[in-house]
Symmetry: C2
Subunit: 178 residues, 2 copies
């Protein structure tokens, strides 16, 4: 293939690598997605190894993660033992999926911790012994409440955005100037 075209691809892949890292994924994952995204035809694991320049094992695990996130899809061809991959090109779909994934895992868990702390403090307010403790406990309770409230709002906001995007993806209208 044309050298300059390869250079352009590599530059793009490098950019994807950066973005991936920026969003908290591994660099290789972004690079691999970039390579798949720029492949005109379904691309095999070996070709990815060649294009991205990481080991087969790394490509294997990253590709699995990408598939779990719905960012790529596996295409098996009859009479061919290789797995081929194509890129999901609906980015909003990807965003939705990733947001859902992240909400479920760590985000909820963190929220729960805040809730637990709040319950701990509020239980304490009941059977408090000294006056000073009550004062501090009430302060704690208020602050924790405020934070939990914020996280709930954030949760609602994200849910709203996902819903909006669901509408958009059904091609009602493009609200965000694409």
């Amino acid at each position: 293939m044309n050298t300059e075209l390869v250079q352009a691809r590599e530059h793009f892949i490098q950019g994807m690598s950066r973005i991936s890292h920026f969003w908290g994924f591994s660099k290789a994952m972004g690079a691999i997605y970039g390579a798949i995204y720029l492949s005109p035809a379904p691309i095999s694991l070996d070709e990815l190894v060649a294009q991205v320049g990481v080991s087969k094992g790394a490509v294997s695990t990253n590709v699995r993660t990408l598939e779990r996130l719905g960012m790529i899809h596996k295409r098996i061809q009859l009479g061919d033992r290789k797995d081929y991959y194509i890129a999901e090109t609906d980015f909003w779909k990807i965003v939705r999926r990733v947001l859902r994934e992240r909400e479920q895992s760590e985000f909820d868990q963190a929220l729960r911790t805040v809730g637990e702390s709040m319950v701990l403090v509020e239980e304490l307010i009941e059977g408090a012994d000294t006056e000073m403790d009550v004062e501090t406990a009430v302060f704690y309770s208020d602050r924790m409440q405020a934070m939990q409230s914020f996280f709930n709002s954030l949760d609602n906001l994200v849910a709203m955005l996902i819903a909006l995007e669901d509408l958009r993806s059904k091609s009602v209208q493009n609200l965000f100037g694409r």
Copy 2:
């Protein structure tokens, strides 16, 4: 202070630590913010070292980052050489600030890389030699265009959210159920 109250605080701080890590900041940073957030009075660096359990140096650098992000504020008291810190409690304000910060730094840069790759490819389409190269180059160009378009939309969306939040913070109305 009451042991159970301390436990509740530590549980909360641990939660903040997780959230911080989840959002791509250091764990200590979240913990430190948590400690400041739960302090009824402005809190000094030494007290933070005691409560969070990391070294003075780490507290110092993390505190500086927190201040840069507008998550905490320094309060110097007359006749006291220590610096004291209080927490910013307007979380939406913090979100706006962090979003702006992130957009400027890495996000823009990544976008630029995609744009550059696209220009490279499009220049190539003009002076192309073989037929096959043109075909691939056009494919690349289309895909890169689609991705850049998406990032622009995302940018607009974030800008819109910031604008919405600016309105809300001026207490027009609370749109997100707080």
